[in-house]
Symmetry: C2
Subunit: 196 residues, 2 copies
């Protein structure tokens, strides 16, 4: 899997200048690039059937990879305030706050909620920042109809930036490495481990 774009929605320049933040970006890149399909292919290939691939296994693979890098998925996290926020994956920072990542697999409308969930955590000082990861519109063509995608959320980026909430908020656009008609469709319920 590859990263096409990292769009900065909010950045007050403070947390983004820390080494904690650099480590977070490294982890995210590593986890995205680690997602393989088929396993061992050295890349992420979809079979080209439009609306033909389920999204959950891809997300599971990413979250599992972050777990390996020391992050906590929403079931692992112990801090009560963070646990209630039900953020896909979080990591604790040197100052006791957290950083949250959402990998969007629901309907595009739930991408609006995901951004709100991250901004709410920032506004309430639990989060130093957050990242929402979305498929490109090109990748979206091969996934479950109406799932969140970068292009469809783009018209709202300016609105989402129009606030004085402190911290860093990014939206990262990802994409498959190519189409390969010989690979099977990714089905709903497939074990995410199979994609790392």
């Amino acid at each position: 899997m590859k990263i096409l774009n990292k769009k900065v929605i909010l950045d007050d320049g403070i947390f983004s200048s820390t080494t904690d933040y650099q480590k977070i970006l490294d982890d995210i890149e590593q986890a995205v690039y680690a997602i393989e399909y088929p396993v061992g292919s050295g890349g992420f290939y979809l079979n080209g059937e439009r609306k033909g691939n389920g999204v959950k296994p891809i997300k599971d693979a990413f979250i599992e990879k972050l777990n390996e890098l020391g992050w906590d998925d929403e079931r692992k996290v112990l801090n009560p305030s963070i646990r209630k926020r039900k953020i896909d994956s979080t990591i604790e920072l040197s100052d006791g706050r957290f950083f949250g990542v959402e990998w969007e697999t629901g309907n595009i409308s739930s991408s609006h909620r995901a951004i709100n969930r991250l901004q709410k955590g920032m506004l309430e000082q639990d989060l130093a920042g957050g990242i929402l990861i979305l498929p490109s519109r090109e990748m979206y063509n091969y996934l479950t109809d109406r799932v969140g995608n970068f292009k469809e959320l783009e018209p709202y980026f300016e609105l989402m930036s129009h606030t004085n909430i402190n911290g860093v908020l990014l939206i990262i656009e990802i994409e498959h490495d190519g189409i390969d008609p010989s690979v099977p469709s990714i089905k709903k319920g497939t074990d995410g481990r199979a994609l790392i």
Copy 2:
């Protein structure tokens, strides 16, 4: 149908002091209270089956009533900029701007998008304000699972207020008048006219 609550999310005190705004609130109240089920009962009664009632006919009845009061549903509106915004119902103001109303019937996550849609219109100066109408949690119990409801959006109200966008933004909580096991369930696809 009755109104339980009018929550002010944004109000800069300017548009909210106009007679245009008073007329808008009157129209909304009139349209909500005009929704009857069964027709002629003088109220809005649900049959008490949990998750048993479709929401579209209720919305259709409300939008049709606003049309009668001079508002434009998303298919009627002619102004190109407003038309693109796909707001459920709008009305043109004395100053050439518009006011928008969304009656939420989709998933709760789409209520986040509906608020963003209204705030975007306000930020871009097309709208002087907007209203989102949501069922109470009590009413939600009898509607399609996971539809937008006031209580579930409430934790986000403070975040939604945390911006300096000009104009008025309200969230109105509505509720049925009572339960009557003798009335039929409201089914998907039922003509909204039947509920006015």
